[in-house]
Symmetry: C2
Subunit: 167 residues, 2 copies
């Protein structure tokens, strides 16, 4: 089987991570021979080349956890959380999200995939006590997990489309 090169453009990459610097650098590094190669490039770019303003840009591109997500990806990632929340836990999550944003200046970022509402709330309360710079780095690590999941979906969709073309 010959190696497939996957091309990712800036717009697709912005959907994985809302920092323009990230999307531009990744698009320059594209095409990728494998998902692993794309993830390695993404990690290098995110942690070494994107500056703190770029991190803040990416954070602000997300819907708040527990709010009705506008993108299909956010909706899928938060489906467990949304299914396990009731009215009172939704309210508590919303209150704590507000407290978090007031304290840190950006929204609470968590890779929500497969996590229940109660788990997310407990994590938010725990992280709320962190120093701002520590929390900033944790949020960036969570953002990277989200980016990796989205890159994997993008790769799998492209691979299917490509194998359909070559049949």
């Amino acid at each position: 089987m010959e190696e497939m090169m996957v091309v990712l453009d800036e717009e697709e990459l912005l959907g994985c991570c809302g920092s323009t610097k990230f999307a531009k650098e990744m698009a320059s590094a594209s095409p990728f021979a494998s998902l692993n190669q794309a993830v390695s490039a993404a990690r290098h770019i995110w942690f070494n080349l994107v500056d703190v303003n770029g991190w803040l840009d990416a954070f602000s591109a997300h819907p708040q956890i527990g709010q009705s997500p506008s993108s299909q990806w956010s909706k899928a990632e938060q489906s467990t959380a949304l299914a396990t929340a009731n009215e009172s836990s939704s309210q508590e999550l919303s209150d704590w999200n507000n407290r978090y944003r007031l304290r840190f200046g950006f929204i609470f970022i968590i890779c929500a995939s497969g996590r229940m509402a109660a788990e997310i709330l407990a994590e938010l309360k725990k992280r709320y006590t962190n120093r701002p710079i520590i929390e900033f780095e944790i949020a960036a690590q969570e953002q990277m997990k989200i980016t990796e999941l989205r890159l994997a979906k993008l790769f799998s969709a492209k691979a299917k489309a490509s194998s359909a073309t070559f049949q």
Copy 2:
């Protein structure tokens, strides 16, 4: 000798550190019985309460190292650097400052007091290789050193003024 309480207002505190959050929290914590007490409060507020946007605000309140400083404090702090710079080292410092700002998204912050131009340039080049999040925290530590020096000057000026009043 009775204990003197030193009152610091928001405007004076903004001159020590250009984050509004910092100045407001410090003004609330004022008056202070000693410089040590003020510095402890300042460290707590800066590292635990001021968020990453507040850090960026404080950084952007500084003149670039090597550029003619507008405030008297910056001028005094950079006096050794300015006295030891020649035309070529000034140019090199300016070039590296631009590279630094492009990489990190904020200006190079260093407690310049007593440091020669060549030392500052060497430090800038060394710090340029750091990851953005690491450099962000180092810059915040340098900002705190600058704030401490300025608080000490403010305290000493106020103590003099106060002892003059009570003579």
